[in-house]
């Protein structure tokens, strides 16, 4: 297991280095002057030169990369051009919304998908299964922003249970913060839960056809016992893979939902940064998201090892 961990950690570090090089290259080396791009068509050459200097664009690409990567290691993401504050500070504020939102949505996703997938697999081919398959099909097909608006209409406008948007900050207490994130989390979770429930169902059904399920039944286990004791853990590997992908998506892909609910999250930050050509912010946020994706994948790998003893010894 230690060896398995060491290998995963090494691959994590290498992926991060590779990703930082790609991001750096895309934004800084690809044709066009970042400073000129950020200032727009009407900028004076002096302003461009000043910004180039400020951005540290003078020097070789290699030395600039080392400066940038070295800064990242110390938490220095550079200075935002439009906001005139350190990017780290901006990210620090926004992540307080995005990370809890993503985690909240993922918890809801799992809470919905696991039982639903299990029931569908246990009742495969029967009415409960058909109903679940139809409902999850709908859940995948409905755009989440439209579903978000329905939620606002019902729970905020009509019932007044939740506010229609905005985020009071965590200073107002955990309950208030969570309450503000509830509708967005539901809107985010529904399509993801539909996908995950379907993955869970098909993975479990595959597992139920394995010989060891028949062995378990021959030992005297009921259908339900065979499903819960033997099929579940074996069927979990593909589910973990999808969950890892979903968390990354929830973290970065909440742009539209954050806009619907006026939430000051990372998605809105990067959206605004792109429209304002604030490439330093874009660079920083993208690097952070890549970091999050790679760390989540690392955790998924660890979970694989825990779920399946056969993987612990392999390369």
């Amino acid at each position: 297991m230690i060896r398995y961990l060491a290998r995963r950690l090494l691959s994590l570090a290498l992926s991060l280095i590779a990703a930082s090089i790609v991001i750096f290259a895309v934004i800084e080396i690809i044709p066009g002057d970042p400073a000129a791009y950020m200032l727009g068509l009407n900028a004076s050459p002096e302003a461009v030169a000043a910004l180039r200097d400020q951005l540290g664009l003078n020097g070789t690409a290699f030395s600039r990369y080392l400066d940038w990567a070295g800064g990242l290691l110390q938490g220095d993401f550079g200075q935002s051009y439009t906001y005139r504050v350190p990017v780290a500070e901006l990210i620090g504020e926004r992540i307080q919304v995005s990370l809890p939102l993503a985690a909240y949505a993922l918890v809801l996703t799992v809470l919905i998908a696991f039982p639903v997938g299990l029931i569908a697999a246990a009742r495969r081919g029967r009415p409960a299964d058909w109903g679940i398959m139809a409902a999850t099909q709908l859940g995948i097909a409905i755009p989440n922003f439209w579903f978000a608006m329905l939620l606002v209409l019902l729970f905020a406008v009509k019932l007044h249970w939740f506010s229609a948007g905005g985020f009071p900050g965590w200073e107002g207490g955990l309950a208030a913060g969570l309450k503000a994130l509830t509708l967005p989390a539901i809107a985010l979770a529904l399509p993801q839960a539909s996908i995950l429930a379907r993955v869970m169902r098909s993975s479990l059904i595959d597992t139920l056809h394995q010989d060891y399920i028949r062995t378990a039944r021959a030992k005297g286990l009921t259908r339900r016992q065979a499903l819960l004791r033997h099929a579940l853990r074996n069927g979990l590997i593909p589910v973990l893979t999808i969950m890892g992908l979903q968390f990354s998506f929830l973290l970065a892909g909440a742009i539209i939902i954050e806009n619907v609910f006026f939430l000051p999250g990372l998605g809105r930050l990067i959206f605004q940064a792109i429209t304002q050509r604030d490439l330093i912010v874009v660079e920083g946020v993208v690097m952070l998201l890549v970091f999050a994706v790679i760390v989540v994948n690392f955790m998924v790998d660890i979970a694989y090892g825990a779920a399946d003893p056969r993987l612990r010894r392999r390369r």
Binding site: D211, A218, K219, G220, T222, R223, A307, R310
Partner: protein
């Protein structure tokens, strides 16, 4: 004595397809009952009917009496209570029959726990005891191992421990040794025999192998197309064989094709001192990984037109050697030459050398692309020619005719053919370039005895007509005896014995060869004589 379990007029249809047609038999306490038949005869479905674990869409009728109680009338909850307690089952594939993510002790203990026969701590103690009984003592095989850390034979022992944990009255063993090596098979059969004697349980032994039942069963039933066609106590069944199907099975299992020697003195393939090593998934992060020598200084010669056998148990290096001979993997020492030209793996190996050697694998279905028509499958080796043949369709038709298939087979897909026909197509694909040497890697092992006899006849005929050389790799000594001139015996990467097939099999010199021959189940010679006399 009254019957412990009895089937009366058992019939079964799956999605309307009749599988069993009025099967009746009875099994007494402490008796071993052999059920023999070819694939599709309904043996396994009989077993699953007794356990009431039939696949979806199955409709069974008739009576199954366990100690006088009709199982067909019981509900699912009552059946769950009986399974594992009164009746248990082990199946053919030890590789897939165990849960890969649970330790072996937990899996054995589970039988006790689900039947509320013991609390977890006590269940574990009994589980260790049962594991020790089946030959897996905790000090030699840690009970917290996972199935993937055990060999096939050890896994089958775990499956047996699970089945006998609660000392059931009936154990159904469905082809329990088919996937195992002969020496392992002999050990597992001895274990089952001992359990029947000591625990007094009834054993229903399902197999396609007449020799296995001959040595194990008190009574035997022969199944064909969902019916029991002949039944009797083992000796009288084997010495009389009243039903023509029983007789046909018996003849096919000992089939000797007519061969005439085609071997010439001229060497075709010469292997000298071949070494092939693998890097092991070692335990160190740095430094050279430990290496495993799969093929260890192997030398031999195949002459033109000769049929050479290669026998050995799984893991002995047969497949690794095959890959090296075909130039698919590089070798770490020695030389392999075909007709004087050196074989090197990878792109360095010229196509004209590759086309002189072809291969046929065990699983005829897995070695074909299911989306290609047979004509294209058989024509695939043409890419080894510099200029494609003028009339590829005629060449394909010729190759299909060589293996006894009509020319219109070329327009069909592989799933439209039976297992034996698929193997004929694989042979046609190997023949289409008119090679000098064909490697047959367990090529008849997955086939039923009657089909196997036909393929052996075909191979003997092809060799006589085309002057081909075979390298015939098999774990089955009977087959090797039937089709080869000389044989190599391989153990742990080395050739331990080599010689004329008849001499090696009748008067083996190396202790390993002797073990192999002794382990292979045989129908007693006296019974054979009685039958033919």
């Amino acid at each position: 004595m009254t019957a412990m379990i009895e089937a009366r007029g058992l019939s079964l249809a799956i999605h309307g397809m009749p599988i069993l047609r009025g099967v009746s038999f009875a099994l007494r306490e402490g008796e071993t009952f052999g059920l023999v038949g070819e694939s599709g005869s309904g043996k396994s479905m009989t077993a699953l009917s007794l356990m009431r674990l039939l696949p979806e869409g199955a409709e069974a009728s008739g009576e199954i009496l366990l100690a006088g109680r009709d199982l067909m009338a019981l509900g699912e909850a009552e059946m769950c209570d009986l399974r594992g307690r009164e009746m248990a089952m082990i199946s053919q594939e030890p590789m897939t029959a165990l849960n890969p993510v649970q330790t072996i002790a937990d899996q054995v203990a589970e039988t006790l726990i689900v039947h509320a026969a013991a609390r977890p701590r006590e269940a574990r103690r009994i589980a260790l005891e049962r594991l020790a009984r089946v030959g897996l003592p905790p000090d030699a095989i840690p009970p917290d191992r996972y199935p993937h850390e055990l060999s096939g034979g050890q896994r089958q022992r775990v499956a047996i421990a699970m089945a006998i944990a609660l000392r059931p009255r009936l154990l159904i063993a469905d082809e329990p040794t088919t996937a195992l090596d002969v020496t392992t098979q002999a050990q597992i059969l001895a274990l089952l025999k001992g359990l029947v004697r000591e625990e007094g349980m009834g054993l229903m032994l399902i197999t396609h192998d007449l020799a296995v039942v001959a040595g194990m069963a008190d009574r035997v039933a022969v199944m064909q197309e969902g019916r029991i066609v002949e039944e009797g106590d083992t000796e009288s069944l084997f010495t009389r064989m009243r039903h023509p199907y029983t007789r046909a099975l018996f003849e096919a299992s000992a089939h000797q094709p007519e061969r005439r020697p085609t071997a010439r003195a001229e060497p075709l393939l010469v292997a000298e001192d071949v070494v092939r090593e693998y890097r092991m998934p070692g335990l160190r992060l740095f430094g050279p990984a430990p290496r495993f020598r799969a093929v260890d200084h192997v030398s031999f010669t195949i002459h033109k037109g000769e049929s050479l056998g290669l026998v050995g148990e799984s893991g002995c290096g047969k497949s690794t050697l095959t890959r090296a001979l075909l130039g698919l993997d590089p070798i770490d020492g020695g030389r392999i030459r075909l007709g004087g030209e050196e074989i090197t793996a990878g792109r360095h190996m010229p196509a004209r050398l590759r086309r002189r050697m072809q291969v046929v694998f065990q699983d005829p279905y897995a070695s074909f692309d299911p989306r290609w028509k047979v004509g294209r499958l058989v024509a695939e080796p043409f890419h080894l020619l510099e200029t494609p043949p003028e009339d590829p369709a005629a060449r394909v038709a010729e190759a299909l005719a060589d293996v006894g298939l009509p020319a219109d087979a070329a327009d069909r897909y592989i799933h439209e053919f039976s297992g034996g026909q698929r193997q004929r197509i694989a042979i046609a694909r190997a023949l289409v370039l008119k090679p000098d040497l064909v490697i047959l890697d367990e090529a008849v092992s997955a086939l039923d005895v009657s089909i196997r006899a036909q393929i052996l006849d075909l191979l003997a005929d092809l060799q006589a007509r085309l002057g081909l050389a075979w390298l015939f790799i098999s774990h089955d000594l009977n087959v090797v005896r039937a089709i080869t001139d000389r044989v190599l015996v391989m153990q742990a990467g080395r050739i331990v014995e080599e010689g004329e097939t008849e001499r090696v099999l009748t008067a083996p010199e190396h202790p390993y060869t002797q073990t192999l021959i002794k382990a292979a189940p045989q129908i007693p010679a006296a019974w054979r004589k009685a039958l033919h006399g």
